[in-house]
């Protein structure tokens, strides 16, 4: 066992390759949060009255709340007055007001995010968000020809106010929870997607979130609407610089899916996780929820979570339409001193609704990794079905893996199944690989990717390769 410990240690000292900082002129407001801050943000974005009202109500409500402590997380005190709530990198230079500042282009190039439309090879449209603003959205015109709206949420507020007003807060209300209230008060940017009736989005849509400025929180808001018979596959990626202090990221993602429409939402979360002693890193407190509003509609969440110092995140589905389907596929990796409390809620309201949960936790170092899930079958959800599979893989003797499955079944025709396993990475497997000439580091990558394969297979191709590498890198030098 001692040898395995050493090997695991070797494999888990990870390298974070997105930890650089871009030096760019940024419009930053004073730190601290009061009603004035909310008004400044709204004014900077030239928002209509109704949106300011929404923010102010949310802020007033947030002030009555306390931070939740029910998760299996040890969250240090956060001083919300120390945070800067708005930081907008200047998108263009005075010389070239119509072009995105080359420094920003360079930053996203360095992150491997194509912001030039000629880089069409990836078949992917991108909305790039740095700190509090969307820097650029690609292929907007190509998509518009099919009636698809893909833009930053700030633009959507300006150009499609009716859609935004109808749906904003309709799935995650500002009274939902502490972080949802906070986000609703101060959200700055994020993406907006509308896929009209009968349209299959011809390319992957993606948003790339980047935190750059110091002491800044990122509060993004994403709203995706798929009208009847529409389909879209949406990807989300994120990174941040390496810093000694913790930074807060509290996002909301809302999805509404109408009759027979489908939204596939994939995340590769790679926020800076902190160093090997647990210093620094992002607090990732996110509320993601989709509403299967229509008959036969479908939402599929796939997430690969490798970053963040602390993750608090439960992408969920409200299965309101009859025959609607919710899926949640998750790989959560924690290493060193990272903590994750993640899972999903499947709320079955409609008849013959089905949900699938596959959660794979991988823990190393001194990390804590929890799965928390709720399967709720309401009284009128005749014939609902759920299958949950929660597996934990332990790579060190000092890490923790926990499973908190809740089931609330109020209709006796429901079929709900839950399976759970916990395993350790096996010295014999490592040695077998080594005997074939494979280094320990690569062997851990192979074994972990094999363990997570069921989830990784759900990712779009371009993403899957990246995610596989990420899994191996996050666990580089882990095996103990």
């Amino acid at each position: 066992m001692q040898e395995t410990d050493d090997i695991l240690k070797e494999v888990t000292n990870n390298e974070y390759k997105y930890g650089f900082v871009t030096s760019i002129d940024t419009d930053i407001i004073h730190h601290g949060l009061d009603e004035e801050t909310v008004r400044i943000i709204s004014a900077k974005k030239e928002e209509p009255e109704w949106l300011l009202d929404f923010r102010l109500k949310a802020f007033a409500y947030w002030q009555t709340l306390e931070m939740p402590h029910w998760a299996h997380l040890d969250i240090p005190q956060i001083n919300y007055q120390d945070i800067i709530y708005y930081a907008a990198p200047k998108k263009s230079t005075p010389q070239n007001p119509d072009e995105v500042d080359p420094e920003l282009m360079k930053t996203f190039d360095k992150l491997g995010i194509p912001l030039r439309e000629r880089a069409q090879l990836t078949g992917m449209a991108v909305d790039a968000v740095m700190d509090s603003v969307s820097v650029k959205t690609t292929f907007k015109d190509t998509l518009a020809s099919k009636g698809i709206i893909f833009c930053s949420i700030s633009e959507a507020v300006k150009h499609h106010p009716d859609l935004v007003q109808e749906y904003l807060g309709s799935v995650v209300g500002y009274r939902d929870n502490f972080f949802a209230a906070l986000n609703s008060a101060v959200f700055s940017d994020g993406s907006f997607v509308y896929i009209p009736k009968g349209v299959r989005c011809p390319m992957e849509l993606s948003t790339y979130f980047r935190i750059n400025a110091r002491m800044t929180g990122q509060f993004e808001r994403t709203l995706i609407i798929a009208d009847d018979d529409a389909y879209v596959s949406y990807l989300e990626g994120c990174t941040a610089p390496m810093r000694d202090e913790n930074q807060l990221h509290a996002a909301i993602v809302e999805i509404v899916v109408r009759d027979h429409a489908e939204v596939k939402y994939s995340t590769v979360q790679n926020w800076y996780p902190g160093d090997k002693d647990g210093k620094g890193g992002i607090y990732n407190f996110v509320t993601k929820r989709g509403l299967c509003k229509g008959e036969g509609s479908k939402i599929s969440w796939t997430q690969v979570e490798t970053g963040s110092a602390i993750t608090w995140k439960y992408p969920s589905c409200i299965l309101a339409g009859d025959n609607s389907i919710g899926e949640f596929y998750s790989v959560a990796v924690t290493n060193n001193w990272q903590q994750a409390d993640t899972g999903t809620k499947m709320i079955h309201l409609g008849k013959n609704t089905r949900s699938t949960i596959v959660s794979k936790g991988i823990s190393a170092g001194h990390s804590q990794n929890s799965y928390r899930g709720l399967v709720k079958i309401s009284p009128r959800a005749e014939g609902a079905r759920n299958h949950s599979q929660c597996d934990s893989l332990l790579l060190s003797p000092t890490c923790g893996a926990h499973t908190f499955p809740y089931a609330d079944i109020q209709n006796e025709t429901a079929v709900v199944e839950h399976e759970a396993t916990t395993s350790k990475i096996n010295e014999d497997q490592l040695f077998y690989c080594q005997q074939r000439g494979i280094s320990v580091e690569e062997a851990v990558g192979l074994i972990v990717n094999g363990y997570a394969r069921e989830v990784m297979n759900k990712l779009p191709m371009e993403f899957a390769v990246e995610a596989q590498k990420l899994l191996s890198i996050s666990l580089a030098n882990t095996v103990g």
């Binding site: 080594q434 005997q435 000439g437 494979i438 690569e442 074994i447």
Partner: protein, 250 residues
């Protein structure tokens, strides 16, 4: 090729190998026989660097290098292959990915570039016929759900892919029916060249009917107590291991 001198090895505080001497030249096949608990599997484990065993004394050189200084993966890349007595299952890792990682590591060590996917699959197809392994098996996870016979065929298939200088077959015959035994043994024979060498560890003469040894050694209580030609295996089969004890005056 391989020179073992006064090798002592323990697991925990228990000494299992108590001074093994063995010398193997290019192209030779050596059989190591002996009763249960004599140290046969320990010897093979120590040669491939299994961390469960500690070498306490002695030396092993392989092709002029001090083998005991090398990591298990370096020993593999230098050309030592172990066919495991109990092959390990690795769920979710396909044979294709596993073997591609292994073959490319070996190529990198030799300064060669990685094989393209097409070339690699071609190589796999070619090698798997050696042990009559079907295509489906190659697509499955490493040893997962394989029968005993399939696992052993899979070991020899991997040996064919990696073309070792020295192959150690640790009780490759255990758990095999007659047909599977023949296929596995024929596979080993097909891979035999005048340059590579083999150590066959077995309890029984049966396997040696197929894989003809040049030398037979008897390992007993952590030492090689008798070495001779192939006739020794036949004599052992006839007289049993008690005969060894008598010879040793016990």
């Amino acid at each position: 090729m391989l020179e073992i001198k006064n090798l002592h090895a323990s697991v925990g505080n228990k000494e299992i190998l108590k001074g093994v001497n063995l010398s193997i030249n290019e192209g030779e096949v050596h059989a190591i026989m002996g009763p249960n608990g004599s140290g046969k599997s320990t010897l093979s484990s120590v040669l491939v660097g299994d961390p469960k065993f500690q070498v306490t004394e002695g030396s092993v050189t392989f092709c002029g290098r001090n083998l005991l200084e090398l990591s298990p993966e370096e020993r593999s890349r230098e050309g030592i292959f172990l066919s495991f007595q109990y092959p390990i299952e690795i769920p979710g890792v396909s044979m294709v990915n596993f073997m591609r990682a292994a073959v490319n590591e070996h190529r990198k060590y030799k300064g060669l570039s990685s094989l393209t996917a097409t070339d690699f699959l071609k190589l796999m197809r070619e090698k798997r016929t050696i042990v009559q392994m079907d295509n489906k098996l190659a697509g499955r996870s490493v040893n997962e759900g394989f029968s005993g016979g399939e696992k052993k065929k899979n070991e020899i298939f991997q040996m064919a892919m990696l073309e070792p200088k020295l192959a150690i077959l640790d009780e490759t015959d255990s758990g095999l029916d007659i047909d599977a035994l023949r296929i596995v043994a024929e596979g080993v024979n097909k891979l035999k060249t005048p340059q590579n060498s083999t150590i066959v560890i077995t309890h029984y003469q049966r396997l040696l009917d197929y894989i003809k040894p040049d030398f037979v050694h008897v390992l007993y209580q952590g030492r090689i107590v008798m070495s001779a030609g192939p006739e020794l295996a036949l004599e052992l089969e006839e007289k049993g291991y008690d005969w060894i004890k008598q010879q040793l005056g016990e």
